[in-house]
């Protein structure tokens, strides 16, 4: 019957979760819009993220000019997130910081994902020695604490924005590379790949036509899910003073500056930017997962 493979897969998944839903029309009605709702949520998040990025990029630096008449004000209608010790609006600083984080995260995760793709595919296609070597390398990489590794690399590359970007880019690919390797290995062993070989198709042709298209959705979702990691590490590193220089409007800088004033009761200096960063990260994560379930309709229980 049509769709039986998918049906049975779903039936199987259902079996395992022991879901009871016989003849319950109510549940059904609620499910109608679940996919659409998820897609709309995804779109909304995307628009918000885009707005933060563009907003931050468009805001002139003059918006961050010091104004000592407005020094250290708590949150109000005029200054939503309050102001800092130089009288700068914390909302503007936060938006600028998030925008910068997004940019850094984007660059770092794209480079990381590309490394992951190259390494993962090499490992899976090369088999034997190449695979062993790559796996060993990944194990070594994973055995070093992540933050320490980023710090070491960023210091080795002259610190600052460039050093940190390198640090972020070359440390985030490991888990995705593992996933890609596993996926490629799995597809390679499929009967339709063997059949393709017997029809006289070359390895390169098979990699291009069969394997790559299968990997792309995984790759994109993996890339988006790298984003939050990269952003958190960027902020963390900057907070510790190994990342972006103090003149940049980064969230990490804001947070580390705020430390001095927290004991004075200026909670807004850390609370709002910190909360905004967490929300940003959660939104990106949700966006990635939404895209995944929309790309793989048969595997998602959405």
């Amino acid at each position: 019957m049509r769709g039986k493979a998918a049906n049975l897969k779903e039936a199987d998944a259902g079996m395992k979760r022991m879901v009871i839903s016989m003849g319950m029309k109510g549940i059904f009605a609620k499910k109608r819009g679940r996919r659409t709702a998820a897609a709309i949520t995804g779109c909304v998040f995307f628009v918000i993220l885009l707005a933060i990025y563009i907003g931050g990029a468009l805001l002139p630096d003059s918006a961050l000019a010091a104004d000592f008449s407005q020094k250290s004000l708590p949150p109000s209608m005029k200054h939503l997130f309050g102001t800092d010790f130089l009288g700068r609006d914390m909302f503007v600083r936060t938006v600028k910081g998030l925008s910068l984080s997004l940019a850094v995260g984007a660059v770092a995760s794209v480079i990381s994902a590309l490394i992951a793709l190259a390494v993962g595919v090499t490992a899976a296609m090369g088999r034997g020695i190449a695979d062993h070597a790559v796996n060993w390398f990944i194990d070594v990489f994973m055995s070093v604490p992540h933050t320490v590794l980023i710090i070491l690399i960023s210091v080795a590359f002259s610190r600052g924005a460039f050093g940190m970007l390198v640090g972020l880019a070359v440390t985030h690919w490991v888990s995705l590379a593992r996933i890609i390797r596993g996926e490629v290995l799995q597809i390679r062993s499929m009967q339709y790949i063997t059949a393709s070989r017997r029809f006289g198709k070359s390895r390169l042709w098979i990699a291009r036509k069969h394997i790559l298209p299968h990997m792309l959705p995984q790759f994109f979702v993996g890339l988006i899910l790298l984003f939050p990691h990269a952003i958190m590490h960027e902020s963390g590193l900057t907070f510790l003073g190994f990342g972006l220089p103090p003149e940049q409007p980064a969230i990490g800088i804001i947070l580390s500056e705020s430390m001095k004033y927290l004991s004075g009761g200026a909670f807004w200096l850390a609370l709002f930017p910190g909360l905004a960063l967490v929300l940003l990260v959660l939104m990106i994560d949700k966006l990635g997962n939404t895209i995944r379930s929309l790309l793989e309709p048969r595997e998602a229980q959405l």
């Binding site: 019957m1 049509r2 769709g3 039986k4 493979a5 998918a6 049906n7 049975l8 779903e10 039936a11 199987d12 998944a13 259902g14 079996m15 022991m18 879901v19 009871i20 839903s21 016989m22 003849g23 319950m24 029309k25 549940i27 059904f28 499910k31 996919r35 659409t36 897609a39 929309l294 790309l295 309709p297 048969r298 229980q301």
Partner: protein, 300 residues
């Protein structure tokens, strides 16, 4: 006694083709069977045609995107999700198709039953060594796994055992053995619902055979009826009979209709030589003909 009665069961899946295009696939339509205590009833049809879903519907373990219609009765009482939950694993047992239904991280003995005495009984009965109880699923051979799955199903002294394709992967010797177990279960008074794609197996070991076509059962015949084409009641059963390698290997034209595009009337009408105008308008109601149930207006 009727242990389980399935009346006009229908089942559809809400499916997604792309990100948003959705359609309903009706997989089972107007399916009716009755399983009695002391017998093996086989449901035989091509694999992937939704037979397993019948089992899942009875057990109440369908995935969330399934919509069902029709009625199920357990010993005359309506089989509600609540009752299903109460019966599952006790009066209502399931022997699944594959090893993947065992938890890979738990020793098999614990997965069969927590009652040590019962475990010893079951292991003795199915020729499993005591040490096996301490092993993990991946350490078992195919035949041993099958026996574990069977003993797990029987641990609660079930009234109905549903076996979904219990034999593929077993050597003929072990398959025979497995089927003998089901025979014993039936002889002890319980009902066995055997779901299989192997019509030969169904005829050999079951008491009655329900012929499954395009998501419905067109006929429930005694297994002995398959000895002679003329004893069968439904035109499709006869087509099936003639297509068996030992009975002529005749390739009837046409194929089963798709879940997405079922005919309005009798599901077999487009391929049936006895088809009349009536047949294309409404599905036939089940009738009893010569001691078997059949869904055909022309059966006599």
């Amino acid at each position: 006694m009727n242990i389980l009665e399935v009346k006009n069961l229908s089942l559809a899946f809400r499916m997604y083709d792309g990100a948003f295009s959705r359609r309903d696939l009706s997989v089972l339509t107007n399916l009716s069977i009755t399983v009695r205590g002391g017998e093996i009833l086989a449901v035989a049809g091509s694999s992937g045609s939704g037979k397993s879903l019948l089992a899942h519907a009875i057990l109440g373990i369908l995935p969330k995107n399934a919509v069902t219609g029709g009625e199920l009765f357990w010993c005359g009482e309506r089989l509600t999700p609540k009752l299903q939950q109460k019966l599952r694993g006790k009066d209502l047992a399931f022997v699944p198709q594959s090893v993947t239904y065992l938890d890979p991280l738990i020793r098999v003995g614990r997965q069969v039953t927590k009652d040590d005495k019962r475990l010893a009984d079951l292991f003795f009965r199915y020729h499993l060594k005591k040490e096996v109880a301490r092993q993990f699923p991946h350490e078992l051979s195919g035949g041993m796994t099958r026996r574990i799955l069977i003993s797990a199903a029987l641990a609660g002294n079930p009234k109905l055992v549903i076996a979904d394709e219990p034999t593929p992967g077993l050597s003929p010797h072990l398959a025979e053995h497995a089927m003998k177990h089901f025979r014993e279960i039936a002889d002890s008074g319980a009902a066995v619902l055997l779901i299989t794609h192997d019509i030969d197996l169904a005829i050999r070991f079951a008491d009655r055979v329900a012929v499954f076509y395009a998501g419905t059962t067109v006929e429930t015949a005694n297994a002995s009826d398959f000895a002679d084409e003329n004893l069968l009641r439904h035109p499709y059963s006869r087509v099936l009979y003639r297509a068996m390698p030992q009975n002529g290997f005749a390739p009837a034209v046409g194929s089963q209709p798709y879940a997405g595009a079922l005919p309005r009337g009798c599901l077999f009408a487009p391929r049936c030589e006895k088809c009349t105008a009536e047949c294309t308008k409404a599905p036939p109601a089940p009738r009893v003909v010569r001691g078997g149930e059949v869904c055909c207006r022309h059966a006599a």
